[in-house]
Symmetry: C2
Subunit: 195 residues, 2 copies
């Protein structure tokens, strides 16, 4: 234990430090780099400490995702204008923690292979029911309330289209989607389909 302040972390403080480290390791090195060795080193602790809490790698993964994905919703914009909400939300998808969550499906292919599951399954498992609706359902519902778009039934396919396309682009390029692409998706694809 290399901490200079002389105190050992215990309980929740230690657990938080470990999960912070785990998330950072997952982000930087993917699931193949998500090892007890790497995470313990990153957290400045020893492997038995991790094993005591999470006997399997998958346990630690789920704990990490519960904290950083399930436990912290992405804030939704509420600009009073649907197009602005959509564009803002799509921009958010490409940076920071949200970026990581957007690309999580790709980071966890080995986990899915091991467990015979998929990103959809994981989402079902970890997110509370009210969180499973995408952000686009919410901002569209608000627009309907404001009378900005007609109140007609729309398939989830159409509602979530912008986000799906942005995620796809991010997967292809591993870069944030440029603004002109975001605007293209909203203006040329999505808005024509919902208006």
């Amino acid at each position: 234990m290399s901490l200079k302040e002389g105190s050992r972390r215990r309980g929740q403080e230690l657990e938080d430090a470990i999960l912070d480290a785990a998330w950072a390791v997952l982000d930087e090195h993917g699931y193949s780099g998500f090892t007890f060795e790497a995470i313990a080193a990153r957290a400045g602790t020893s492997r038995p400490v991790l094993y005591r809490r999470w006997p399997q790698r998958t346990d630690l993964l789920l704990a990490t995702l519960t904290k950083f994905w399930a436990g912290q919703p992405i804030p939704l914009p509420d600009t009073g204008n649907l197009r602005e909400d959509a564009i803002t939300l799509l921009r958010r998808a490409g940076v920071g923690r949200a970026r990581m969550i957007t690309l999580l499906g790709t980071q966890l292919m080995d986990y899915f292979r091991e467990t015979g599951t998929s990103f959809s399954d994981l989402r079902e498992q970890l997110l509370p029911a009210d969180r499973r609706r995408g952000g686009f359902e919410t901002i569209l519902a608000r627009a309907v309330e404001r009378g900005e778009v007609p109140d007609v039934p729309r398939s989830a396919r159409v509602v979530n289209l912008p986000f799906d396309l942005v995620r796809h682009d991010m997967l292809m390029t591993l870069r944030p989607v440029p603004d002109e692409s975001i605007i293209e998706i909203v203006d040329e694809v999505w808005l024509p389909l919902i208006r």
Copy 2:
């Protein structure tokens, strides 16, 4: 060498066997399982044989992709009807070798991290220029020629939309996209945008 027939493979025959094995290993175990050890074992050869040809794992990966992706185009349907072509092509994306290619971007996240590249970069690198257009550009061009849809400029975004959405769905579920989803994408999203 455990082959019963008593002969050693040489030259192209051996190389084909290795690349076949490499592709199978990549498909079943992803990039993290794409090891000299695993591929040599799968090919029934020894590791030094692999190292002699491909000194680095990335060399072997590129050779494998060149053979199984760049070297074998996915056949495009030509039914004489755009909707039929589209639906058939999307069905094809979910099975066999085409499925693997569709999901390749997700399988290679570790490679991209190592090399600082992306799936888009890889496609630029490996596919000849005429192959970089998606199948949807071709089937749409045919429909324009047949006079089935008007000859107006369309963004690559709109043209390739069905394929992007199917790939996204496949990533989410790791299963073939059900027919009703394919039909939804074509009928409710794509055709309205191009007609």
